[in-house]
Symmetry: C2
Subunit: 280 residues, 2 copies
């Protein structure tokens, strides 16, 4: 079984409740990558909706998710609570909450999300933006080249094969472009091919675009909304992330993903918090 699928394993505890676990293999620093938390929540919600009426049975693809991150997820057991809101002809909509036990044993909510599932089996693309022009993966900068000190604290980077376009990787050498753009290639290191759930994970797998603005601290996601527009073909994903606006200590980060066939398959916007001033 591939690493991503292992991370998505759930036990049905009945009444819409599922139990799972976060492994430190998916941690960045001490926190579990938010994309993994979302993907686990979506997996539980998808299975819950499948058990519902006939229409929902066909709604196997997550089409849109909006996730609010309230506290950082940590390695260890988690509980996932799912709820059906509406099963329609085109979409089924539900709610999901990921909960872990706090230090005092009380439940602490990590993430709550609303999401709709549909069927992306036969989707034509009428309009889309062009995929970025990227050097081939072997001429891009691999995350394996990050300083060992950084890699030791980011087990997550062992799971992914991430190749940054050198034109948008100046920040890694202390020369951010200040344009607020990053682009490159992405795949899972163990060869697991993308699917619609994995795409929503992939939308949040790049380093924060704030790095390209010279803002190097952690940029926690407050809210994330992602749309899956097509099922992806196997192979490398092309990813572009960008930001136009920084107000107070909040910025948006937009992501777009094209599959190996050049189709735009997913897009997202998140609101994240950045430290623009050094803290004392």
């Amino acid at each position: 079984m591939h690493e991503f699928d292992t991370a998505m394993q759930l036990r049905d505890e009945g009444d819409g409740t599922w139990s799972g676990a976060f492994h430190d293999d998916w941690a960045i620093g001490n926190a579990i990558n938010g994309g993994v938390v979302m993907a686990l929540g979506l997996t539980a919600l998808g299975r819950h909706l499948e058990a519902d009426p006939a229409e929902a049975n066909r709604h196997v693809d997550p089409v849109v998710i909006s996730a609010y991150f309230m506290t950082a997820s940590l390695g260890g057991a988690c509980r996932v609570e799912t709820q059906t809101l509406r099963c329609g002809r085109r979409l089924s909509t539900g709610q999901v909450s990921v909960v872990q036990e706090g230090p005092d044993g009380a439940p602490v909510e990590r993430m709550r999300a609303l999401a709709s599932f549909g069927n992306l089996d036969t989707v034509d693309t009428t309009r889309q933006s062009d995929p970025p022009d990227l050097p081939p993966p072997d001429q891009c900068l691999s995350s394996d080249l990050a300083p060992p000190d950084f890699l030791n604290h980011s087990a997550f980077l062992d799971r992914v094969d991430l190749r940054l376009d050198p034109d948008t990787a100046g920040w890694a050498m202390g020369r951010p472009s200040m344009r607020g753009v990053m682009q490159g290639w992405l795949r899972l290191k163990d060869g697991r091919e993308p699917d619609s759930t994995m795409l929503l994970w992939a939308l949040d797998a790049f380093p924060p675009v704030a790095f390209d603005l010279g803002i190097y601290g952690w940029a926690p996601t407050l809210e994330f909304t992602g749309h899956v527009r097509r099922r992806p073909e196997p192979g490398w994903l092309r990813v572009v992330i960008s930001s136009d606006t920084l107000t107070g200590e909040l910025m948006e980060e937009d992501a777009r993903i094209w599959d190996s066939a050049g189709h735009l398959v997913a897009q997202s916007r998140q609101l994240c918090s950045v430290r623009t001033q050094p803290t004392g």
Copy 2:
């Protein structure tokens, strides 16, 4: 009292439940404008959070909302259920659900949303995109010029003063630009000035951008996420809406709003459903 504030009136029924009413004055066709449904939900959630701990008291501005529209809201009474999820230092997060009675008397959920409130009292803009270059409002196309047949079915247009840049209004004369862009000026007709809640309404107040792609049917919002980035100055709002992607019968619509001082004050993306094929 201004029309918008009248529409936001709520009675506290205790335990996080509020009662309100949708007036047909805000209808487009038979359905109440989604922006009004969101704004009423936000108003209730804001009041609910205010009653919570000390931090939430300062969190008077909606900063981000993600709303899922499950059924169309109709004129008449509604119930709004609010729930606090987390009161943090920077943001307070909650959930809100708008419910109306269905034809058989059973409750039908219209919209469910997650949202975070914060304080936008003193926000500096470090980066933003430039406001659009627009002809002055009196050289733009007013929605008052729409065909009487259309105006009769859209009481909503009596509430708003909407002036479209003629360069992006060709669709109104059957000549859509096919670029997927619309821009213009917006304010409430009775002089009610914008605030952070009104901005989230304003993000969904323009005609569907699908019109500029020659897709003229109703384009119901499935999911809408909006960010408020600053409190707006009084006066006209400048609005740009656009779309890059149409896959199957789903498209995204992005909106950006600048205030009279030229600050980017709000942005949104919604996923909406369009009919690309004539139906039999």
